[in-house]
Every structure is written in C-alpha cells, then in structure tokens.
C-alpha cells in the first residue's frame, strides 16, 4: 500500500533494525512523499479559472490535439507536497552551512520583501523607459556600489550568474584584443581553478593552458610568468584563491600579464573575504565577476538564480555588452542598440535578453545599504576571522595542507589525518550530516588530496563555531582512534542514506513516465 514506496521496495524503518517499522512508512514528523504525478488525478485543480468559449480561434490550425498529461491537484495537496519536500532539505536557516567557495551566509528577509515591491517585481523589461526610472536608478546605484567597492571604473550588469559573468569578462577581453587587431588564443588557468573557469574560456573560444600550484597553495607565479607570451589573451585567477589564500604575488602576475599584452580576469567568487578592505582594481584586475548570490547574500535558492555583474578596468570598459545604462538630463536611459551608443563604446554584443537579474539587484542593494561600507568591511573581517578560528582550532587534529599561515574566509584541510583510518573524506563528510551539519565542500580544489574546504561565513556566532569545532574535533579523534562506527555508511539519520549515484548515471531515469503509475491505494 501507500504511495510512498511505489515502484520501489519500501524499506521504511529498516534503517533502525532494532525498531518496529511504522505501518504508514512515515516516521513522526518525517513524511515520505510521492511524486505529484502519483498524487494527482483528473478533475481536480488548484486554480479556479472560468471555462471560456472562443468564437473564432486564430491558432492557424496548430491547436493541440493530445492532452499534455499534467496531474491535477487541489491547493491543499500542493501546499502539503512542497512543505513535506522542504522538510527533507538542509538550509542556512536551520544550521551552519560550511560549503567552501559557496559563501552560504545569512539571507536577510528584508531583501526578499524589497524585491517583491510591485515597483520592482511587477515591472516589465520593455515598458516605456519613462515608466521605470526608479528601477533604472536602482541599477545605477548598485553599479555605484560595485564600482566603488572594487575600485573599477565600469560594470556590466546583465550576466546572470558567476559563470555567465566569466563569459562576459572573457568576451570583453576578446573584443579588446580584436580591437587591437590581435587574435590571441591562449588563456592561463591555474589547476586549482573552479571548473567554470576553463569551461568558460573554452566557450569563449580560447584554449586553456593550466598553471600548476605551488606546495603552499598558491598559483606558481614563476610558472605562470614563464608561460606568458604573445598568444596569451589572459590569465584567469581566483583571488583569494580556491585554497582560501590570498595570492601574495598577485600584483606581480597582473603586471606580468599586462606587460605581455594580455589581460587579467579575476574570478571574484571569493570577494567576501576582502570586500571593503581590498579593491581588486588596485591589484591590476581587468575584469572580475561578482557573485551577488555569494558576497551580497541573494539566496542560493537550491541552485539559483544568481547574478554575476562584471566590473571592468578602463582598458576593457568600452567593450561592455549591451544594454548600457546612461544618465542625462532626461533621466536614466538604457542603450539597447549600436545606433545609440555613447562616444567610444564598442559593445561586443549581448549576453542575454533584457537587462539582467533585477530581482537580485534589489536584494544586493538592500544588503549593501543595510550593511553600509563599514558593515561590509566588518563582514569580510568576521568571515576571515571565523575561518582562521576554525583553522586554528582544528589544525592539530585534522590536517591543514597550508595550515601555518593565516587563511582568508575559508579553511582548507586535506585527508592526511584520515590516512590509515579507513575513513575517507566522503565518510567524514557524510558523518557530519548525522551530527546536524551540512558537509563542507569536498574534493575541491583538485590540487589537494581529499580536500575539505570549510567556509563558515560571518553569519555564525562564536558559540556556533565552538559547537562545530567541538564536533569536528571529536570526529577526527574518533577516526584516528579507530572508532569508525559513525563513519561507516553514514549518514544514518538523514531522510535518505547514501544514494546510488552510479546506478543513476548508468541507466538514467530523468523524468517520471506514465508506466510508473501507482496502483490505486488498497
């Protein structure tokens, strides 16, 4: 019976062999939940709409013939479905979320409220521009914050996430090179880089040349400089880098690439370590995306949406894509077309329809106004302080490959301390789930074996950090002492135990299909 285990053998309760399985398969407040396609049925809807007669359809003979196959559910069922699903998720709002590189900081509710003001949430991208002056002013104000905080003269607002910002930046570089009549193809990317960096370089039509890391977790500046040449379009560095370290030779590398006629693209995913303290413009950066969904707290929303505005140096600014935002006596104006360009502008094209992630812009500006310049600086300092506190508190029991120096906003560990214990990085991370924590980022960056990258962010209290440290210390000590029970097959206390990813990839089931239709209950 019950829909909860349709199509699959139910094993509710099996996880706790000493216990009686429940009849329902549910367990207290933890409900199993079937797919909407298994729950729905004909003749029900969660939206009341009148039946309409259309005297003369104008569909050009292309009227749909077959039903779509969508399930029918009433509103109460829909609400319950998603509430139950939500309860299977971990979230910042329920606990520390130390995913390195992801900046899972507090998402203020004020920002949600502001983004929903009808004057922002309910305006159309192509309304007459005189009816959206407030929206344009908001974007302009956000641009001011972004350029001021980064010390860069310009910013392209349309990119929809970090990777999209990378693409925008690399295309700007491409356009600048073309304007110089050069067709440089090679882009230097450190081995520690996030996957989007090489992927983006490839999409933009560049070839990727990998730069190794030094033993202390930095980009090998010497190797990088050695690779520079007349075919190098750009270097793509992350700073602070993905090992959580500030690149001490950053300025030197910037100068070198400039000298070699290339540009410096900086991955700004880790801006949260330095916002308000360091201006990338002062480091020689030519282009850098800013993940508003990291540093400026627009919610990650289970995977998106984000926004990735790209700040640009004076050399690159003219090549920023359309649309451009201008201000003159008549107010704000979007320049959407080549014909209309201001002096000197040579946009490389367009990144997407319309003018960017307005919903995220509102949230980010709300965050900035709330923090103020002082608060942003304090937030960065607290983020760095918290990561160093974790590093200092754990480095004796876990292994920190670059553990001596201070780190930036994330603390990197490797799996040396687990050597010979039989416990893997994965086991260790999954055991954290049982302890009520989301695991840290695992196996990234690739330059470190069994990497565990912990980014606490500035949103945790010291008490919360202390509890986290205590749990991780005890876990590490247990593992080393050969007490591996809690690691084997962990998690045991989550809504699911480890999932079979191989099976998922081998014979992919990527959608529900009618053949899985449930038998009628009872």
């Amino acid at each position: 019976m019950t829909m909860n285990s349709q199509g699959r053998p139910s094993a509710a309760g099996v996880s706790e062999s000493a216990e009686l399985p429940t009849i329902s398969g549910d367990r207290g407040l933890d409900h199993e939940e079937a797919l909407i396609f298994e729950l729905g049925r004909k003749g029900v809807t969660g939206v009341d709409l009148p039946e309409t007669q259309i005297a003369h359809e104008r569909l050009g003979g292309l009227k749909r013939k077959a039903p779509i196959g969508l399930p029918g559910l009433s509103e109460p069922e829909v609400i319950r479905h998603y509430v139950r699903l939500s309860r299977m998720n971990y979230a910042i709002d329920s606990g520390l979320y130390p995913l390195g590189s992801c900046t899972m900081k507090h998402n203020p509710r004020l920002n949600e409220k502001m983004a929903r003001l009808p004057g922002f949430g309910d305006v159309h991208p192509l309304q007459p521009q005189k009816t959206v002056q407030g929206a344009l002013e908001l974007i302009s104000e956000l641009m001011r914050w972004l350029t001021t905080l980064t010390g860069m003269p310009a910013v392209a607002m349309s990119p929809k996430a970090g990777a999209h910002g990378e693409l925008c930046g690399m295309l700007t570089i491409k356009a600048a090179l073309e304007a110089r009549g050069e067709n440089r193809k090679r882009v230097l990317v450190p081995s520690s880089a996030h996957g989007t960096n090489p992927a983006t370089a490839a999409v933009a039509g560049f070839t990727v040349d990998e730069v190794p890391a030094t033993d202390d977790g930095h980009v090998d500046a010497d190797a990088l400089e050695a690779k520079l040449g007349p075919d190098v379009a750009a270097i793509m560095l992350t700073n602070p880098n993905t090992c959580g370290l500030f690149e001490p030779r950053i300025k030197e590398m910037a100068d070198a690439v400039h000298k070699a006629g290339g540009y410096f693209y900086c991955d700004g995913a880790n801006f949260n370590a330095i916002a308000g303290r360091v201006r990338p413009g002062d480091l020689g950066v030519d282009a850098m995306h800013i993940n508003l969904h990291k540093t400026f707290s627009t919610p990650h929303g289970g995977g998106g949406p984000g926004a990735g505005p790209v700040v640009l140096s004076a050399a690159l600014a003219p090549f920023a894509p359309l649309p451009l935002l201008m201000h003159d006596d008549n107010g704000f104006r979007l320049i959407e077309d080549e014909a209309d360009l201001p002096e000197g502008a040579k946009p490389f094209g367009r990144m997407c329809a319309f003018q960017g992630q307005m919903g995220m812009f509102v949230r980010a500006l709300s965050y900035m106004l709330s923090h103020g310049a002082d608060g942003i600086r304090q937030a960065s300092e607290d983020a760095v302080l918290s990561a160093n506190y974790i590093l200092a508190s754990l480095k004796d029991v876990m292994s920190a490959p670059f553990g001596e120096g201070p780190c930036m906003h994330e603390a990197l560990f490797d799996d040396t301390f687990l050597e010979g214990t039989g416990v893997t990085t994965l086991d260790f991370a999954k055991a954290m789930i049982d302890e009520g924590y989301h695991p840290m980022t695992m196996y990234f960056p690739l330059v470190v074996h069994g990497a565990m990258l912990i980014e606490p962010t500035e949103s945790e209290s010291k008490e919360s950090l202390d509890r986290f440290i205590h749990v991780l210390r005890e876990m590490a000590l247990e593992a080393k002492a050969g007490k591996t029970a809690r690691f084997e097959g962990a998690p045991r206390l989550a809504p699911r135990r480890r999932l079979d990813e191989t099976r998922a990839a081998r014979a992919p089931v990527l959608r529900w299909k009618p053949k899985d239709l449930p038998q009628a209950a009872e």
Partner: protein, 448 residues
C-alpha cells in the same frame, strides 16, 4: 550590525586563539598598496531596516507596476497572475536558503522537485528529457545552438527572423564566435522561407513560435526540411502558456526546445531572474547542457534522487564540458513547478484558452480604432498591430494616459524601417474588459 553575530569580545577571544594580535595580521598577504583605509569609500554606513525600506520603496514608487495600470506588454515576458501559494512556498527557508543539492541525503526536497520540474517541461514541450533549467530563454536558445553545433559538427545556424531579437543577438554573440549565424529577413505576420537556406553545413534552424510578433509558426515543414539535410530544429517558445492550446514543438518535430518559463510562477521582475527551459530527445541526452536530477535508490533500497550525468558538466569536465553553467535558476524552477502543479492539466489548458480569448477580444477591439490594422492573422495571446504613425510616440502618449500599451517593434528592431509603426500587444488573464476598453479609447484619442 544586525546581521553579524560576533561581539567585540568574541573577536578578541578568537584573535587570541589564532595568535594574531590584530585582524590586519590575517590580511598580511595583501600588497600594502592595495590596503586602503575605510575613508576612501564614498558610501554610507550601516542603516536600519526602516531606512533601507524607505529608500528602496521610494525608488520602487517611481515605476509604473504592471498591476497598477491597463497593461499590454509582452515580447518575451508576460504579466500573469501567480497564485499566492507559490510565493509562500518558495520562501520556505529550506528551499530559499539551501545550495545546489550536492548532498542528496539532505536535499531530497530540491532534488525531487527538480525531477518533477524536468518531467513537466518534457510533457509541455513534447520532448523526452528536460534539464533542471538554464538562466533564461535567450541563453537556453544559445545553448541549443551550441549543442546542435556539437552534435552535427557543423558551424552554421539559421535563425528565423521571427526569433526574439534579443535571443538572436545572444546567439550571435557567442555561437557566432566559432560558427556562422544567418538571420533570415522578416516580414511581420508572414512566415519566411527557411527551407531554402538549409544546407549541409547547417547545424540547426532556430524558429520561435509564436514568434516575436505573436504569429504562430508551423514548425512541421521546417522540421522536415532540416531533417532532410541532417540539421536539427530548435524550437523556441517565449510564452510557455501557449503550449496549453498549441501543438507542442515535440509533436511538430523539434529536436531541441528552448523556452522561457517566466510566465508560470516567476513574475516580471524587470527582466530577471527568469527560468530557461531546455528539452531534447533522449538520443541527445549526453550533449545536453545544465544539471539533471535523476532517480536512484539509497543504501536501503528506498527511492531517492541525485544530480546525475555530471560528467557533462564543468566541475568534472572543465574545458570539455557541454556548458560552463553552474548556478542556474533553481528557485524559479520551484516557482514554475509549483504554479504548474496548482494549475494541472485543467487549469493550464483553461488558462491558455482564456489568454487566447482575451487576445482575440483585444485584437477585435483595437482594430475597430481608425487607422489600426492587425498584422498577425494568427496568434496566441499576443499580436502586432500597425498604426498610422510611429509606434514609439503612440506608446509614449498612451503611457502618459496611464496605459502601458505594449512593446513597439522598433525597440527590438531599430534598423528595420518597416516595423516603425508596429506595436506588439499582449493580453492575458489579468486584463479585464475595462482594460481593453480603456486601451481602445485612449488609442483612438491619441490617433485622432
């Protein structure tokens, strides 16, 4: 500062534990020249909620919101009523403040809705499989072209002149780097002859239906012509509600569908965030961009979901990935899937019929105004009218009368003198009879 939990005491204790006498020690690797004092910023300090709320509300109040006026803009973004349950549910902390579901054991909520979302998108488009979203319709179209170039190993892509110009420009910007992009000339309200342009270098033909002028395009002959030459048909849909009433692209032979899902659940948002829908045939699965949620079982045999086939993706494949996308439109997928779950078959098809009925009523009413003619004989909820004079000034004068009358074609096609007098007008379930009447009355006044 209300968002920062550390106290001054905490900071001191923590620094002591670290063994740093000052926070600056932790920033020691920053070149001296790049450390700048607080004072260089010309930016304000911390403000309370009340002040921020006031400042932003003041900006918001300077815009005319769609719900506050008779409103007829479309051209890639549509004003629809989103049930209040949607916004309530997407704000559940566990949805809003969670990351990409990389730890499936504690992310089944996200993974299951993505699996359901993928199924809904596949059903709507009539395709085999759909991914867990791309940024928006325009980037989905671009990804479709790149994918077609990969599959066919051919450089050329033909873009129908009815494709939303922003979409076409987005494709040109990136896919044009390594390939050739051909944009067919367009006469609003007419289907261009694409078949003739397809050759053995053609990777794909991209056709939007309803097109940017609202015209419904018959994809079947184009699919046939493309397939005959070994090219793929990429169908683009900017108004997903149309699929409640129109034959799906899949049924018309499309190989890839790229669509904008904004109409369902998401809202206008001045252009973003939106949600790119992307679906294709099973055989092209491994060339697909973007995340995929798949079904599997856990160690106890219970059904569960994971992100799968990630060997296509940048974090594994790096420069050989099918796309560079990472963050996608997660929460907008959720809004989309909740809204569509609420609608169901009955609600969604009714909604489509109402939209068409409203547009028919609007078209009939507007064409009674002297000098106004209908350009697009067939349409779903959007059509183009020709005015006796420059549409830009007409739309402007209508805005002054409180009517947001639609999108002038010249905003999207500034170089096409033929569309100068054309206005693209959309009607949805949110437009009342009174709205339609007000529009017609005002239009008559402006034109008289």
């Amino acid at each position: 500062m209300r968002y920062l939990p550390l106290t001054t005491d905490d900071r001191a204790t923590m620094l002591a534990k670290i063994g740093a006498h000052d926070i600056d020690v932790l920033f020691r690797d920053v070149p001296k020249a790049a450390v700048f004092p607080r004072s260089v910023f010309d930016l304000p300090d911390t403000q309370g909620e009340l002040e921020v709320d006031r400042a932003l509300s003041r900006l918001a109040a300077k815009n005319v919101s769609a719900g506050s006026a008779p409103f007829f803009c479309g051209a890639g973004a549509y004003k629809h009523h989103v049930p209040s349950a949607v916004d309530h549910l997407i704000q559940r902390s566990e949805f809003l403040t969670s990351y990409t579901p990389y730890q499936p054991e504690i992310a089944q909520g996200t993974l299951q809705y993505l699996f359901e979302f993928q199924t809904q998108v596949a059903l709507l488009t009539g395709m085999d499989v759909a991914n867990a979203s791309l940024y928006d319709g325009s980037t989905a179209t671009l990804e479709g072209v790149l994918m077609a170039q990969r599959i066919t190993r051919r450089p050329k892509a033909i873009l129908s002149g009815g494709l939303h110009p922003h979409y076409a420009e987005t494709v040109e910007t990136v896919a044009g780097l390594s390939g050739t992009i051909v944009r067919t000339p367009v006469t609003p309200g007419k289907a261009e002859d694409i078949a003739a342009l397809i050759d053995d270098q053609t990777s794909c033909v991209v056709v939007q239906s309803p097109d940017v002028f609202g015209m419904i395009r018959d994809l079947r002959p184009i699919a046939e012509a493309a397939h005959a030459k070994g090219a793929l048909l990429i169908a683009v849909v900017t108004e997903i509600v149309s699929l409640g009433l129109l034959e799906s692209p899949g049924a018309q032979g499309a190989d890839i569908v790229a669509a904008e899902g904004q109409s369902i659940g998401v809202g206008l948002n001045f252009g973003g965030p939106y949600v790119g829908l992307f679906a294709t045939r099973e055989k092209f699965l491994r060339q697909m961009p973007g995340r995929l949620a798949g079904e599997t079982v856990d160690a106890e045999g219970r059904r569960g979901y994971v992100l799968t086939l990630s060997t296509r993706e940048q974090h594994i494949r790096r420069e050989k990935a099918t796309s560079n996308i990472c963050t996608n439109s997660g929460l907008c997928c959720l809004a989309f899937t909740i809204h569509l779950s609420l609608l169901g078959e009955e609600g969604f098809t009714r909604l489509a019929r109402i939209n068409h009925a409203r547009a028919c009523a609007l078209a009939e009413t507007l064409t009674t105004v002297k000098g106004v003619s209908l350009v697009t004989p067939n349409f779903f909820n959007e059509f183009t009218i020709a005015l006796p004079r420059d549409a830009a000034s007409v739309a402007d004068e209508l805005a002054d009368k409180g009517i947001i009358a639609g999108v002038r074609a010249s905003r999207l096609l500034p170089h096409d003198a033929a569309v100068k007098n054309m206005l693209i007008v959309a009607a949805t379930e949110t437009n009342t009879d009174a709205d339609i009447k007000d529009f017609a009355t005002a239009l008559a006044e402006v034109l008289s």
